[in-house]
Amino acid sequence: MPELLLEVRQLEVVYHRVATAIQGVSLDVQSRSIVALVGTNGAGKTTTLRAISGFLPSENAEITDGKISFAGSRIDGRRPHELARVGVILVPEREKVFTTLTVKENLQFASRQHSGVTVEGVLSYFPTLAVRRGQLAGYLSGGEKQMLAICMALLCRPTLLLIDELSLGLAPMMTKQLMDQLQQVTRELGLTVLLVEQNANAALAISDFGYVMEGGRVVFSGKASDLMRHPDVQEFYLGGVRETETKSYREIKQYRRKRRWWG
């Protein structure tokens, strides 16, 4: 019986009181599913995640419209550590681990007693990280830092995991490995994940549902498998090539396609 864990309705976020970053964004995230949010740079994906996880005030931005509900209750406007306590955990795009602490201390930081999830438990999902537990986190490779970030998030007993750009700066093989590990962890722990990604291929491959954002709006949504087959999504985000007889420049130009989103 899938229930609606996260409900975002008509969200609008404005930066510095003058620049609207996202407008009219609505998302549904079912419990125990992986939802992907894809789009190009500047589409507003990170802003959406920040709005959900309570990080907007530090960026001089505010929610000017809409509401966000988590497990039935409103969470827009709550502070980050309050949201962390109820189980909304964000893995940010940058600065996701404490570089001056060791791996073990990073994990110690996030763990709670009686939480049912132990340090050894999460490390068992990421064996390459387990051997480096005494090392300073700043000296880890990109992929290992990402694993550490996920482990820290897992130790906070998340109900909803928000991950921003998991594949950023990672080699394709590392990305695939990480995505598979994420899927495995999610299934085993019964988590819900909202995954923001530029690498739409990798994200949609492990997701159940997907949203496509462009220019601050959600322009398309559907089951991940449907999205992957959609020709426009393929052309713009998955690197697919349209099979047409004649290729005129006008046809390839994106703005012609854009009209279809809203038409």
Binding site: S53, F55, S58, R79, P80, H81, A84, R85, I89, L90, P92, E95, K96, V97, F98, T99, T100, L101, E105, N106, Q108, F109, A110, R112, G138, M152, A153, C156
Partner: protein, 286 residues
């Protein structure tokens, strides 16, 4: 022996000050320029709370209350708003706080020169002619205890790890469930308490007045020489500064005693800017 005793006790004073500086740096990446003033005001509070030398317990309670109130107040009303701002703004604010505290000494205690009399009668005699009072013994014991406790706190407890993580990235710490305001207020309370202890011990050996606040700068130098993020460094730095000052006063020129810590610092900084025991990675953040 007398020499050793004097130097050791001066080291303890500076070490406590340096510990406060290190705590604040390790938890909040703030370098506190008001530390000397906090120490001396703490000493004055101790004196006043002891009701003129009558009750030691009341004085200790008074000092603790002062630390809690002052630490929380400084953080919640001032430094909290500066989270995320560049470091030099916080430093300038602490300079401002220092001035306000110094003027508080003038207004509240009329800048009387005070000496704390509790337990200062020479009590224990050592071979070689040195004699220590109960207060002197207490100062050494308390300093040692404080450092040991602090070391365990920062290295082994969860809050200690949270201290260090919060200093690096308060936003991330907040998102991982740490109440950043609590952690930083606690850091300030601990730092002010260490400073108050230091001021009390200084006030019993020397005197409290508006000129005494310069010990804060010596403590700051001790912390810098040892490494801003190292507790071991704080002790070593304090020892070096105390030793250098003592030698200068005895052998060279008493007027130079204020300058010597800084000259020492210049030497150390030109060869090893991150301090004797500090970590190199920390340097760029300043």
């Amino acid at each position: 022996m007398e020499v050793a005793a004097t130097v050791v006790i001066l080291t303890c004073t500076y070490a406590l000050l340096a510990a406060g500086v290190v705590i604040l740096y390790k938890a909040a990446r703030v370098v506190n320029f008001a530390h000397g003033e906090l120490a001396i005001v703490g000493g004055y509070v101790f004196y006043s709370a002891s009701l003129g030398g009558e009750s030691l317990w009341l004085a200790v309670v008074g000092a603790i209350c002062f630390s809690v109130i002052m630490g929380v107040m400084i953080y919640m009303s001032m430094l909290r708003r500066l989270l995320g701002e560049p470091l030099h703004v916080a430093i300038l604010v602490t300079i401002g706080i220092g001035i306000v505290l110094k003027s508080a000494i003038l207004v509240i205690w009329r800048a009387e020169r005070l000496t704390i009399d509790i337990g200062v009668a020479p009590a224990i005699r050592f071979a070689g002619g040195a004699s220590l009072s109960y207060m002197d013994v207490a100062s050494i014991a308390v300093t040692v205890l404080f450092f040991v406790a602090l070391y365990f706190f920062l290295t082994f407890t969860r809050i200690g790890v949270q201290f260090r993580g919060t200093a690096e990235n308060a936003l991330l710490a907040s998102q991982r469930g740490v109440n950043v305001n609590f952690v930083l207020s606690l850091a300030w309370v601990m730092a002010v308490f260490a400073a108050s202890l230091s001021g009390t011990f200084f006030g019993s050996r020397a005197f409290l007045s508006t000129e005494s606040v310069t010990i804060g700068l010596a403590g700051l130098v001790a912390a810098l020489v040892g490494g801003l993020d190292s507790l071991r460094g704080a002790i070593m730095g304090a020892l070096i500064v105390a030793g250098a000052q003592y030698l200068t006063v005895r052998l060279v020129d008493p007027v130079l005693s204020e300058t010597v810590p800084f000259l020492l610092l210049l030497v150390v900084m030109s060869v090893r800017p991150w301090g004797l025991f500090g970590t190199l990675e920390e340097l760029d953040r300043v």
